[in-house]
Subunit: 599 residues, 2 copies
């Protein structure tokens, strides 16, 4: 078996830290209990292992290519997605009335994460479709939901998000795709969209593109952008995929990794009209798209995390098997070589991975739990709190895992040594696959701007206050537990330092002006990201410390590992918060002052 997942840790996060079983007290989930949640997870992990994992390498080696004008994928992709569909995962969190299982988003997200760990590229097709359906559920008219949502939930039609254009990747304000109204209320959509994942394939009967476009006479900038649903095939009156809608594949991008997911250049309106429907309001395109985008950002972070989990599990198994060298204290060269996990530097690289990926997993699932809370928490106050907190955590949940998992996978590869550098082992692919995550769905640079430029100050700073309250509450809950003291002290220090640094930069903001204020946004991201992951370790350590006295055998080892990884994070990673806080608080001018001609 190729190691790719830690089921014990997933259950720990869900049922011991986040208490997912408590959600069954809510009306919407009352038909569930911990056993049904657990069965869903087991099913997901098993399907991931049997249907997604085996062709992971093939999706990379036999990259999507065009044969007779059609995109060709390895056949196992289709089979895997059918298994996913047959198990009901396309609609798992939707209403029973829509054919769903009414599972909490937390459980759904955890189940989906298993597929990401096994095969991120194949997972992308259903994941985009699920995001697409969620957007239509939120913004589609009843007619649109009737026409488009059901085939998405049944996994017969797939979805995409079509935002970028060749000249406008991060800069959505400059898109030029034009949607011209027709007499029947529909639109003709014309333009070229770039970087569209899942933009073309033969895996589904139809593909629904959610397309950002301008309308004639719309104001410049983001206010003039609306969202349109443009299917690959026009939909017949009886709801089937019909004639071509003239969305033409202009090319496939050849990527570094994530190769199994087709990434396309699409021409809308080539050789005929591409007809589309407005979703939401005119000019409200970005707002609607951000419903899917925010979900996608958390999904990117969780996907990165699961690549990191897979790399960690693989390198851990390798380190236990591979023998090489001896302890420095061993003077007898004829003694047998030791498994490399015995070397402290290998233990360091494994601990660094554990601290990163299990911290990131805790954050990704915490965010999923907030999604449930904003929808189904008992009181309006609790729901509003969840929304505000989620708003602040979203850029962190996207950026921190995507960049730090890259380092974790770097450690995994290094542990394998020369073997890690070959394609005989999966780590190099995981390392390449993840490198997309700091780029797509808003580069990490943009997440930094979003965090410091919007989220920190939004709602009068209320999100930040709520975060501080949540952390402080968990600091209090950890009081008196000696095993938790190191991480507790470090998190308290990081929280104070971060709050002071934000206060300092916000105070200077009017004098600095917006450009210089934002110049160290990356440090804000690293500072708050480190603090939040530290908090996640505090939460895990607290649960572990309380459970340890009654635990024996592998359970006791598991909790000791949690406590030790929390200490690692406190000693090796959290001190970096201070460094970034200093740069931010001092409004360090170095990057801002640098001149083009000086490079």
């Amino acid at each position: 078996m190729t190691p790719f997942l830690n089921r014990r840790d997933l259950r720990f996060q869900l049922f011991e830290v986040l208490r997912a079983q408590d959600l069954t007290a809510r009306e919407r989930y009352r038909d569930h209990d911990q056993a049904t949640f657990d069965a869903v997870l087991t099913l997901a992990a098993d399907l991931a292992e049997t249907h997604f994992l085996p062709h992971r390498r093939d999706t990379d080696t036999f990259e999507p290519h065009i044969v007779n004008g059609r995109v060709q994928l390895v056949p196992d992709v289709q089979k895997a997605i059918h298994a996913f569909r047959d198990a009901g995962f396309f609609s798992a969190h939707h209403d029973e009335a829509l054919g769903g299982l009414q599972l909490p988003w937390l459980i759904t997200q955890a189940a989906l994460a298993c597929f990401q760990a096994a095969n991120i590229a194949t997972s992308a097709y259903p994941f985009l479709t699920i995001g697409n359906a969620n957007l239509l559920r939120a913004f589609g008219t009843p007619e649109q939901q009737e026409k488009y949502l059901r085939p998405l939930l049944e996994g017969r039609w797939f979805g995409t998000m079509a935002l970028s254009e060749p000249h406008a990747g991060s800069g959505l304000a400059d898109i030029t795709t034009l949607a011209t109204p027709r007499d029947d209320g529909t639109y003709t959509v014309a333009g070229t969209k770039m970087w569209i994942s899942g933009g073309e394939h033969e895996l589904s009967e139809n593909i629904l593109h959610l397309v950002l476009a301008r309308t004639p006479g719309a104001p410049p900038g983001v206010k003039g952008i609306s969202l349109f649903l443009v299917p690959r095939y026009r939909v017949t009156d009886d709801g089937r995929a019909g004639a071509s809608n003239h969305v033409v594949l202009a090319g496939l991008n050849h990527k570094l990794g994530y190769r199994g997911t087709t990434n396309t250049l699409l021409n809308f309106g080539e050789g005929g009209d591409s007809l589309g429907e407005l979703v939401g309001t005119l000019g409200g395109g970005l707002n609607a798209m951000f419903h899917m985008m925010n979900e996608a950002r958390i999904g990117v972070g969780l996907g990165a995390t699961m690549l990191g989990v897979a790399g960690y599990q693989y390198s851990l198994a390798y380190a236990r098997e591979r023998t090489q060298g001896r302890a420095a204290s061993t003077r007898d060269p004829s003694s047998p070589p030791v498994p490399i996990i015995a070397h402290a530097d290998v233990r360091r690289m494994l601990l660094a991975q554990k601290a990163t990926v299990e911290g990131a997993l805790a954050l990704g699932l915490y965010a999923a739990r907030l999604v449930d809370d904003e929808r189904t928490a008992d009181t309006p106050e609790e729901r509003a709190t969840a929304t505000l907190l989620l708003d602040l955590l979203t850029p962190l949940a996207k950026a921190w895992p995507s960049s730090h998992v890259q380092t974790a996978l770097d450690h995994a590869l290094q542990i394998l040594g020369g073997a890690g550098y070959t394609r005989d082992h999966p780590v190099e692919q995981l390392w390449r696959d993840n490198r997309l995550n700091p780029i797509h769905e808003g580069t990490n640079g943009i997440q930094g701007l979003d965090l410091l430029g919007r989220k920190v100050t939004a709602h009068g700073g209320r999100s930040l206050q709520l975060l501080a309250q949540a952390v402080t509450q968990d600091l209090a809950a950890a009081e008196g537990l000696p095993d938790v003291q190191v991480i507790r002290d470090a998190v308290r220090h990081a929280l104070t330092t971060s709050a002071q640094a934000l206060q300092a930069i916000l105070t200077q903001a009017p004098d600095l002006g917006p450009d210089r204020f934002l110049a160290n946004a990356d440090s804000a991201l690293e500072m708050l990201g480190g603090t939040v992951i530290g908090w996640m370790w505090l939460r895990q350590a607290t649960v572990a410390a309380r459970a340890l006295p009654d635990a024996t055998g592998p359970d006791a080892d598991f909790y000791r590992g949690k406590l030790h990884a929390a200490q690692y994070f406190a000693r090796f990673e959290l001190p970096r918060v201070d460094h970034h806080a200093r740069l931010l608080a001092s409004a360090d001018p170095t990057t801002y002052d640098m001149q083009d001609a000086w490079y």
Copy 2:
């Protein structure tokens, strides 16, 4: 033109910082002057651009493969190496009597670096050959030099280093390849060698493998290892490549990057005897091999640096061309989008690259200058000093660039965004290529053990004292220059902190025992590596500050860039030294205490 090199910076490092022209005062180099040095550099850079750069992508796409039992490479590799040979680079630093140009190693290394920047994979064949020749020059008998050295210097025969075996990569003490003496004084060498770069190809008339092997009855461990020269083809009496020597290609490794360099599994003694000659003394194999290995380690660091230079130059050009978004202070969405170099976060990622790769280049060339000094400095004391300093700097010159350039290339890729993730641009290849460098020629983990476990304490700590003296001297030289104050203060602090941390851990060493003493060797590497690169920036900044008042136009911009990059290093990178110093000084037990069962 694809940007891949900064010729201005190379000249700055050589003639302004390291004063290479002063070497012409030495007897050995008296026929040279700055103009001939400069001509060599120009020739190298031009040949690199015209013959090495154009097929860089092809060596990756059309990976070496076996056709009818022979390794097939893209034909441009052969042409490029012929151009390299015809220009005399195989023997450039050797005696005129051997057909060389008697160039300083510093100038040779700088010239070779141009080829690495253009195409690391093709460069590897001549580079291994040059290292092979240097070893034979140092350890070969006059007969061996006559027989083997000339064809190497003429670029007709190529060389390899064959150390690792499938079960023994880092752990050379456990190699089992056996060299059995024959009556005529030669040996039959039998065994399997793994990870042999350039181990098989049709680029040269013969391939000389330098093979580590045991002799019958030799003591276990490294003391029982000797070095043997085993040619691919046996050498005829008139010095030509003759019959097969039964070194059989058992397989090619399929790598993540660096693909143009064949990497092989070789069976020695398959289907007949592989005859070899002892090089150096019986049991002295590792000592002899380390002559080549130390040179290779500095070469790996410089190769990493040049990949970083190529990525930096490419992403810089891209950032100046690609427009996207607006400054946060621009409120008019109909204003034109700006080149992305205008965004502070892009400037940060460019500055981080500049600080990394130009700092690393300074170190690599400083090490090359020390090689000249240990051979040709005026006094025995100066020569001994150079040897001691080089001894300490070697693990740093290998590890720091190889790992930090990975981060620099990560920034380069990020600047290109989605484009960087495609194979339409070279950055993703550079990023993959460099990932080998922290692994080969001793993993960076092993460099850490070498640094803390050997080099810091060797010769009674004399190397470390000499380093501190050299830095202190440069700190004094920078006094009174206001533009240098930030980096000067930061380097002084880093030096003091590092010295104190080393003192602290060394004092505890007897109580800790060797395993725990070495547990934070990685932090020793990061701490001293950061300090040394900071020192390199201090040296560059001092030269720039003194030159700036008389400079105008692009020269003035160049010096301002140096001063600014030094400030960046002081503010953004050097503070990390404190963190690692704390871990080291406190003998932090976290990684040492971690138990296998807790992961």
